[in-house]
């Protein structure tokens, strides 16, 4: 059943991604991106990362994309769409590059992906302790420094938002 779920979600994500990059109306693009985000969140669940899955929905789909939506509506971009679409000379290299990148990755993946050193957090252990509990503990012990720096990062973002967007 998990295999089916993976394939369904992967298909949803890829199809939505294709629509996202060819969709003319930004409002629809946002909805496609939300679909991608949700399907990736389901994949996170399959991978046992429940907390990350929830944060993906809460932060990405529930906050960041809402901000995108607000900006698109604020600027009323949907009315006058991109008048001239992609320049043709850029389209070709882009597609070529896409193919090259994919095939390069594909060639490397042909050989079985070599995985690094195995860690101690097996699924069973994570299940016993609880995914969120473990994240909490690691965040506040091992990753204390980046955690505190994050608050400064958000401070910077707030300064940026205020100073760039607020009319004096």
């Amino acid at each position: 059943m998990e295999a089916y779920l993976f394939y369904i979600m992967a298909a949803v994500a890829v199809v939505s991604a294709v629509y996202l990059i060819f969709e003319k109306n930004p409002v629809y693009s946002i909805l496609y991106l939300v679909m991608i985000l949700i399907s990736i969140a389901v994949l996170y669940l399959l991978l046992g990362a429940q907390f990350i899955a929830a944060v993906q929905i809460i932060v990405y789909a529930g906050a960041i994309m809402v901000l995108f939506l607000f900006v698109v509506m604020l600027l009323n971009l949907s009315a006058k769409e991109e008048l001239k679409d992609a320049l043709s000379f850029q389209k070709i290299p882009a597609i070529v590059m896409g193919i090259v990148l994919l095939s390069a990755i594909g060639i490397i993946l042909r050989s079985k992906i070599p995985l690094g050193k195995q860690g101690e957090y097996t699924s069973a252990y994570v299940h016993d302790v609880g995914n969120t509990q473990l994240i909490g503990k690691l965040l506040f012990t091992k990753y204390l420094l980046p955690f505190e720096i994050t608050s400064i990062l958000l401070f910077i973002a707030a300064i940026g938002a205020i100073i760039l967007a607020k009319r004096k």
Binding site: L74, A79, L154
Partner: protein, 117 residues
């Protein structure tokens, strides 16, 4: 994973319910559109200009602050869950974090980011 199965079932049920409602109303309702009926409602006057006018930057700023604060809140969840084992150490950590957050909040307030004029 199996405990997420009921959610999937419920989701399908809810979707089915919603779609049924939409389809039913299309099937059962009368369909006699007239130009007046289809005009956007503007208190009886003919619509003026485009409906998608730009609205105040204020809403956008609110959404932006929401994104930033939402992240801060999300950081509190794992802390709250692990708090009982982190004890005093965890409390000091979050005190610093929330302290910086409050300074940031105070900054936004003073710069008028929370005013709704």
């Amino acid at each position: 994973m199996v405990q997420y199965l009921p959610i999937l079932i419920l989701l399908i049920l809810a979707f089915g319910f919603a779609i049924t409602n939409i389809v039913l109303s299309v099937l059962l309702g009368t369909q006699k559109p007239t130009p007046e009926k289809l005009t956007p409602y503007e208190c009886g006057i003919d619509p003026v200009g485009s409906a998608h006018e730009r609205f105040s930057v204020k809403f956008y700023l609110i959404a932006m602050l929401f994104v930033i604060f939402d992240i801060e809140v999300v950081f509190l969840y794992p802390w709250a869950v692990a708090f009982q084992s982190l004890k005093l150490f965890g409390f000091i950590e979050i005190l610093i974090f929330v302290g910086i957050f409050l300074i940031c909040y105070f900054y936004i307030w003073k710069r008028g980011g929370l005013e709704w004029e």
